[in-house]
Symmetry: C2
Subunit: 466 residues, 2 copies
């Protein structure tokens, strides 16, 4: 069992911190604590400096006057046995080994070093996080490994065997308005592993949604039991990587993980009720969905937006993801004709409406009241306007902000999708619309297909748990 | 058979052109001809104006002094029977009906209007393009319907039943460096249809690669024959939409197309040798691949880049797309250790290397000479760097430009992938890197999976044609 102290350390030492010009690792692990206003004590440790980042620097862990709960090591692997001795002597609770160069290399003695360290730590009561990982991002505590992460706390927790994967997911989900409670990048998992972390998060009252990126496990049976427990309490979204031959070779040389047969993983994950997703994008989509999209009463959806091709595509995309577009009855079509010209519109669901002088407010209102549909998707394909400048000016600023407020008032679950494809002007529209949606708490997606697939997974989850 | 005059009109009249403030349609169809320096005569036609856009404006087609090869109609459907009479009298070759409001609506008399117009045009020899479409983009002629399209000509031709779809594809592929020869947005296809256009492009010497977005066809047998012919001469990449129930309803109300059973379409397309792709993104990927990636000698690929998770993912993504990553032999790994530290690197293929002070030049050179791999993929995942500013400054500007030049010299087919996920800073990196790749003529993709899948399709195409 993991103790609460892992996530709530009262003091942090950064061993190997340096005031040398552009020491990236010190910036990542020490400056960020200052930037995020970590409230506990911060102790730089390095015999070469008197001060680091304006803080008194200590020659060793033992030389620190107060208690040290958490130690971040950014020194080379070879120096870590001595450091562990110091941590044991000092009564340190957790030793986070950022540095790589252990079991994930193809060098035997480095694997043995990891084993020795882990065994010694287990005997002594010091827990090891890593090695070869980014450690903790806990915004409520002011702990982070990237200054680019949101400073506000939320109710999504995420564990990741890959540090870079966690950076991708937190940046991406963060841009959609998802906020995190506890994030742990755990690397080689020599001591603290995915099972320990998931077990803790399953009963963590602050965590409503769990995400996990896993490359391998040492104890499939325990993982199965814990995933099953956790999934019965809250959604657990899992990315499992390293399933192909080259991917598995990659996983071994990345975190020393034995990736295992992908089919076995798939059936295990299904049995536990965990939601297996393909990759970072789908992880971000599901975090967004569980954060901002409530369970719809049925799979019936109304799709509004503009562009003929994009509307046909949106309809296909929804039905491919097992959502259903009921056909608009004659009465609704007649009412829609009040707002939309017959020429150049599609009024049967999908609805292709709009144009330069179009007012979305009454249409959103009308479609929100249509009883055959239990959720709404608004699809925006900025690339379809011939003019670059006008896309930006006419659709994005004042007016869209107003209509999104109308959209937010819709009492059914509702999502906004800006399909940016790849043009720069479309990305601008995506960015502005996404920001507006985040401010309003609207579920936002970069394509209808990704929205529909995530909504399908959310519905499936609720159907399973009953 | 379509005559060459469709694509090379010596004069164009725009009926309904207006000098009213912000007349978007006039901007799309008349101002663009001036912006793209169309060399033929341009005749605005509108009884309400003396001049439009600085050009003498005529009250009718008949009043124009010279010959008129091509007429763009932006007047409402009800006015088009009279316009067609004028076109016949004047000996116009092609009448492009931009305006919608015909068979795609659910109003019977509008469908009948389209039928009458088409029959009368057929009798007279005037060809109708549309109705309900954007018409022609032929950069070499100075004809376009968006000022945002590239002005340079290329060897990719594209036909699209949806105008908005064509805008998405041309913008997206254009941003990757793909250049177009002839693009036709053909809408309801009442006269000129996908068969006519594909037949022309199959034997068009200026067209090396064909793309098509199709919602439905009137003559499946003819389409089958023509696709087979065309595919035997050059790659034909097809998106077929409207396959689901709601999608098919969408297609009918979009272009009046009968979408048909998706499985039948799938088997027909397979039989013809056409390359069926899922959507706009894959269309853009394949246009990019056939434009900038030559046929590799085998499916064996070396993947280099940085980030542990992204490298594992890249390996999985390549093998999911049936590419093969040969394992790096001990000798190569030893050589790599000269350039890359053991700690924090993956040296077995995938190669996870790099960092702040890393020099890619010797590594690119070493891996390019590795004989077990017949192509190279360089994966860049900008989101994995903790710092926003540094991603931008350190990785993107001077240095990457230099390394991409080294990468361009690699004698094997080679691709660059920037996986932007969704953060704004990552999109910046994507944009800069993409621009550099376009300048150098390097195949660029927004993810390894999309690159691998497109390369798999390219290899499959060449295997089929032998």
């Amino acid at each position: 069992m993991i103790s609460d102290i892992l996530f709530h350390p009262r003091s942090i030492a950064v061993v190997g911190a340096s005031d040398a010009y552009f020491n990236g690792v010190t910036q990542v692990f020490l400056h960020t604590l200052q930037q995020f206003k970590y409230k506990g004590e911060i102790y730089p440790v390095n015999p070469k400096f008197e001060t680091v980042a304006g803080l008194k620097c200590y020659p060793s862990i033992r030389a620190i006057p107060g208690d040290v709960d958490f130690v971040i090591s950014i020194v080379p692997a070879a120096a870590t046995p001595g450091l562990l001795d110091d941590c044991i002597a000092k009564g340190v609770k957790t030793l986070h080994l950022y540095t790589a160069g252990y079991a994930e290399t193809d060098e035997k003695e480095r694997g043995e070093l990891q084993d020795r360290l882990t065994a010694r730590a287990r005997d002594s009561g010091v827990r090891i996080l890593g090695p070869n990982c980014m450690g903790l991002y806990i915004p409520a505590e002011g702990i982070t490994y990237s200054p680019a992460f949101p400073m506000e706390s939320g109710d999504v927790s995420f564990i990741s065997q890959s540090g870079s994967y966690s950076l991708i997911v937190i940046r991406g989900a963060g841009a959609r308005g998802v906020r995190f409670n506890k994030v742990v990048s755990y690397g080689n998992a020599s001591d603290i592993d995915e099972c320990d972390l998931l077990e803790y998060l399953a009963s963590d009252a602050e965590t409503r949604i769990i995400g996990a990126y896993i490359e391998g496990t040492r104890d499939g049976r325990r993982l199965h039991r814990i995933l099953k427990q956790a999934s019965s309490k809250k959604p657990v979204i899992v990315v499992k990587k390293g399933g192909t031959q080259a991917g598995s070779r990659g996983a071994i040389s990345h975190t020393g993980a034995l990736a295992g047969d992908d089919k076995i993983w798939d059936s295990i994950l299904k049995q536990t009720g965990a939601i297996r997703v393909e990759d970072a994008e789908e992880m971000i989509d599901l975090m967004t969905t569980f954060s901002f999209f409530t369970r719809p009463r049925s799979r019936r959806v109304v799709v509004l937006g503009n562009g003929g091709g994009p509307s046909v595509r949106a309809a296909d995309d929804c039905e491919r993801a097992e959502l259903v577009l009921p056909e608009a009855p004659q009465k609704l079509r007649q009412e829609m004709k009040k707002y939309s010209s017959v020429a150049g519109s599609m009024l049967r669901n999908p609805f292709d409406i709009g144009g330069y002088h179009f007012d979305w407010a009454p249409v959103i209102d009308l479609l929100a009241r249509w009883e055959d549909a239990d959720m709404m998707i608004w699809q925006i394909a900025p690339d379809i306007e011939p003019f670059d400048k006008d896309i930006f000016h006419k659709f994005c600023l004042d007016q869209r902000a107003k209509w999104l407020k109308d959209f937010k008032k819709v009492s059914k679950p509702a999502a906004v999708c800006v399909h940016a494809s790849e043009s720069d002007v479309a990305y601008e529209v995506l960015k502005i619309t996404r920001t507006l949606c985040v401010e309003l708490g609207i579920a936002f997606y970069p394509s209808v297909y990704r929205a529909a697939k995530a909504i399908d997974r959310l519905i499936g989850y609720y159907e399973r748990i009953g």
